[in-house]
Subunit: 223 residues, 2 copies
Amino acid sequence: MRHILIVEDDRTIAESIAFILEQDSFSCQWFDNGTDALDYLDNNPVDLMLLDVGLPDMSGFDVLRKVRVKSDLPVVIITARDDESDQVLALEGLGANGYITKPFSPRLVVAHVRSQLRRDRTDTNPESKFSINQAMQKILFHNQELTLTQTEFKILSHLIHHPNRVHTREYLMKNIWDNPVSDEKTINTHIKSIRKCLKKIDESCDPQKIILTNRGIGYSLIE
Amino acid sequence: MRHILIVEDDRTIAESIAFILEQDSFSCQWFDNGTDALDYLDNNPVDLMLLDVGLPDMSGFDVLRKVRVKSDLPVVIITARDDESDQVLALEGLGANGYITKPFSPRLVVAHVRSQLRRDRTDTNPESKFSINQAMQKILFHNQELTLTQTEFKILSHLIHHPNRVHTREYLMKNIWDNPVSDEKTINTHIKSIRKCLKKIDESCDPQKIILTNRGIGYSLIE
DNA sequence: AGTTTTGGTGAAGATTGTGTGAAGATTGTT
DNA sequence: AACAATCTTCACACAATCTTCACCAAAACT
């Protein structure tokens, strides 16, 4: 569960944000001033900070400045002032990660929070045995690199991006080959080599249980 | 140098964004439609995508959807519609990373771009075997100077600036040559000479392990 | 059980990509 | 203009990869 730190001196706003975030299975901690929030941050694991600019003891920008001395924590600014130069300052000068102007709906806040945390999730997705490094065109399986050919890489990417879902041969053909090959059996062969690669990394695994054959339809990757 | 993909059908807007980003030492590639942009994305290393919603051939949201099938590339939406539910959809439902509503100043765009890219910075890497002196157009390898021709310098610079990442031949062609040469094999030859230079400095190294060939894709430098 | 359909497998051949040296073209210098 | 340095292209050899195919195994259906 992700833990969100809310720094906002308007109790009503803070509570409505907390309420909606908690419904979305985040946990929240609220402070109405910068000092306490910074203190809390020093001693508690926080995943993201929602930070109002207008605080009683110091500006939200000052809070952000102090946070940035120590960490890269995602910080989303909340403000009543819809001033573009403020936004530029926050995002570029101070290292904010997002910027929401009041009035806003609670859903927008959740959207921003999710958007910021999305990357972390994919980086370290402990549930999946796979991770993809698109830039390097590499796929890790149990944190070990698979040596795949380009076609194999494309097929496995598709499966990983939509796990637990059947990919028909027809679909794979259309999406992986620019000018589709004539024989659908070709895919069988590629799946075979992918399975062989998996087996090479983890001798004890059963590749047919990881990449499932859906008879008469296609293949699917099980998480 | 970070490479930004701009997808925007209004030429004036696209050019002003590109201009300001290039001043800020980003490199840009512009397309006025989604199809071409997606095609480009398949074959080129892009660090961030600026995506207009109103495109001639498909909605920006559709483009984003297709991008997300394959990658976690940071995507910042640009739109004329200041509609909160659109923003929620983009950020939460489709996985956009940022959202800018028109009209906006170029500086705000830069701020968003910087904000998104801040996290994965790899500027000063003390572990690298390479160091670049841009002003002198010199590259040191194990603290010894490489004697490179101008083209070789440009290629190796690109690789060093984005290590652990595949550079397609297409990408290198476009970014290194002003008027691209016709034959992609030319790159092979330059890579060959760069590898030879490395070998000359460090007899014991394996240049093919340092500059990796990614068959069918391109080359990448391993750190 | 026998038959039919579908998937798995390995191997062969076709296709494509890569490394290499050398030749010719281009550029820069004296 | 002559020369040197550098860049581009090319042809060839070789290696990796893709596709196809024939054959066998497994499952589904009668």
